[in-house]
């Protein structure tokens, strides 16, 4: 049977953030995550784009 899953370990992001990154032309593997477990947020994508350091985890 076909494999039904992959294990993406390059970065962690929600589907909406993955879509946002594509819209912004940002490669998520270059973005510094701010989420506790390494989740990349939309804000992280924005920070990366504007060259600012990633928002710190809270």
């Amino acid at each position: 049977a076909e494999a039904t899953g992959s294990a993406n370990k390059d970065y962690l992001a929600m589907p909406s953030v993955r879509q946002y990154a594509r819209d912004q032309g940002v490669d998520l593997s270059l973005v510094t995550p701010s989420g506790k477990h390494g989740q990349i947020s939309k804000a992280d994508v924005d920070s990366y784009k504007s060259g600012a350091p990633a928002a710190s985890a809270h």
């Binding site: 049977a1 076909e2 494999a3 039904t4 899953g5 992959s6 294990a7 993406n8 370990k9 962690l12 992001a13 929600m14 589907p15 993955r18 879509q19 594509r22 819209d23 506790k36 477990h37 390494g38 989740q39």
Partner: protein, 475 residues
């Protein structure tokens, strides 16, 4: 023959889960859409002869069993009798027709043009539609030529026929199996994949003695052994005979039945049955509508090669559903359909899902999303695995359905949920939460810290997450 060429914007071949959802989404995104469907009804395999009718028969089987025996609860029942013609009429009229006419209405509502006919490709930008089915409305024999701006291929798949088992009156495919005029006394099913096994359970519930002949050592081989063994035990309790490592050799139709010969270790055995259903797999419909006239590339397995957006090797031709790689499932087709519709409309959509859930409507149900423990091992991913049994779940016990478990697979280092499997009551509905967990790349801790209501079948998911974070609760 009049060479009367019509020009169309976005053309879709096939109105199955891939085709009709692509049509709806593309229309919502501003495309002018034409769907070509050769069959009399829309909805493809899934609605007409797949997902939907199979689940109706499974329901009827459950209800018959429940009507026959509810003694656990102190209920005495006298004989329950099934009139299978009525069951079939319910399935056809109240379930299948309701869903297909619903889809037809949706297409209308979205101003999708529906052409009833069979499409043949001429080249990378043109096809012809040949009349087909009873609702023929094109009477120029040679077909109507259509030039398209974008073309989405969603032609689906069809059952594989094997040597020695030519489909006929008594040797049938899954479509035949769904439309039997009576409940067979003896029913042989060749191929214990999910389609064969689901229908084995349904017909056993409905009163048939079912024999499954499976070539590999295990039925439903895309699920792990510890899950399938529970289903196997239940099938045997229903009286199903499961014969694994069996090679189906040939069949012989008799006056009112069929003789089926199979071999184990080259030793032949012949059994007699009323019907023999062959469900050994399906092949993509890529060889029967002129695809070879285009520059669209296919793999050696006959699948259409596409990129992350669903684009084929021809820039304005796209492909979705059973004819592209990945599990041949309706919801995978839904997703790809939305992606392609977006891509055609200039959006940055991508088939970037992390896991496609898969469900098998056995007793109890099986469901999976993301990777399994075995796949993690094969891929060299270090994981933590947690298993919580429904036996420890109050809701399952109160339903007298406490067989099975939830298994969660998390990355060992980070705790990210990479996969989950469920065998047990409500598995088909519970798996969605795990699909969210895996596709949103949630952490085991996120699930452990999310309140799951009590008493519900969803609690074992939280319990398994509790185990993963090191603090088991009800185990």
């Amino acid at each position: 023959m009049a060479e009367n060429v019509i020009e169309k914007d976005t053309v879709i071949i096939g109105s199955g889960p891939g085709g009709y959802v692509a049509a709806i989404r593309a229309s919502e995104l501003g495309q002018s859409v034409t769907v070509i469907e050769k069959s009399d009804t829309v909805g493809g395999v899934c609605l007409n002869v797949g997902c939907v009718p199979s689940k109706a028969l499974i329901t009827a089987g459950h209800r018959l069993q429940q009507a026959k025996d509810s003694s656990t609860y102190g209920i005495t029942t006298s004989d329950a009798v099934i009139d299978f013609a009525k069951t079939q009429a319910w399935k056809d009229e109240k379930v299948v027709a309701r869903m297909t006419s619903g889809v037809e209405m949706l297409l209308k509502k979205h101003h999708v043009e529906l052409i009833n006919g069979e499409a043949y490709l001429d080249n990378d930008s043109q096809l012809r539609v040949m009349p087909s089915g009873p609702r023929q409305f094109m009477d120029n024999g040679g077909g109507q030529t259509i030039k398209f701006k974008n073309l989405i291929l969603a032609t689906g798949s069809r059952p594989i026929e094997i040597r020695g088992f030519k489909f006929g009156e008594r040797v049938i495919d899954s479509t035949g199996g769904l439309n039997l005029p009576e409940v067979p006394k003896e029913f042989v099913i060749i191929g214990g994949g999910y389609v064969g096994t689901e229908l084995a359970g349904a017909y056993a519930d409905l009163g048939a003695h079912v024999t499954i002949l499976e070539g590999s050592p295990q039925i439903i081989p895309n699920f792990e052994k510890d899950m399938v063994s529970i289903v196997k035990k239940n099938l045997e309790k229903k009286g199903v005979t499961i014969i694994t490592n069996a090679m189906a050799k040939n069949s012989e139709e008799t006056d009112n039945g069929v003789k089926v010969t199979y071999e184990i270790d080259s030793k032949p055995t012949t059994i007699e049955a009323d019907y023999c259903m062959v469900t050994v797999g399906r092949r993509p419909n890529t060889d029967n509508f002129g695809l070879e006239m285009t520059s669209v590339k296919t793999t050696d397995r006959g699948l259409v090669e596409v990129d992350k957006q669903g684009r084929t090797s021809v820039d304005n031709i796209w492909a979705i559903g059973d004819i592209v790689a990945g599990p041949a499932l309706a919801h995978k087709a839904f997703f790809e359909a939305k992606t392609v519709a977006g891509a055609i409309s200039g959006k940055n959509t991508e088939n970037d899902y992390i896991g496609v859930p898969a469900v098998c409507f056995t007793d109890p149900e099986l469901a999976t999303v993301g990777i399994t423990q075995t796949e993690a091992k094969d891929k060299g991913i270090e994981v933590n695995v947690a298993k919580f049994p429904f036996a420890g779940n109050a809701r399952a016990v109160s339903l007298d359905a406490a067989e099975g478990f939830v298994k969660l697979i998390a990355d060992k280092e980070t705790g990210t949920l990479l996969g989950g499997q469920i065998v047990g009551p409500g598995a088909s509905d519970l798996i969605s939460e795990l699909s969210v967990a895996v596709n949103c790349q949630l952490n085991a801790e996120d699930i452990a810290l999310t309140i799951h209501p009590h008493p519900t079948l969803g609690e074992p998911i939280q319990e398994a997450a509790d185990i993963l974070i090191g603090y088991p609760t009800h185990i």
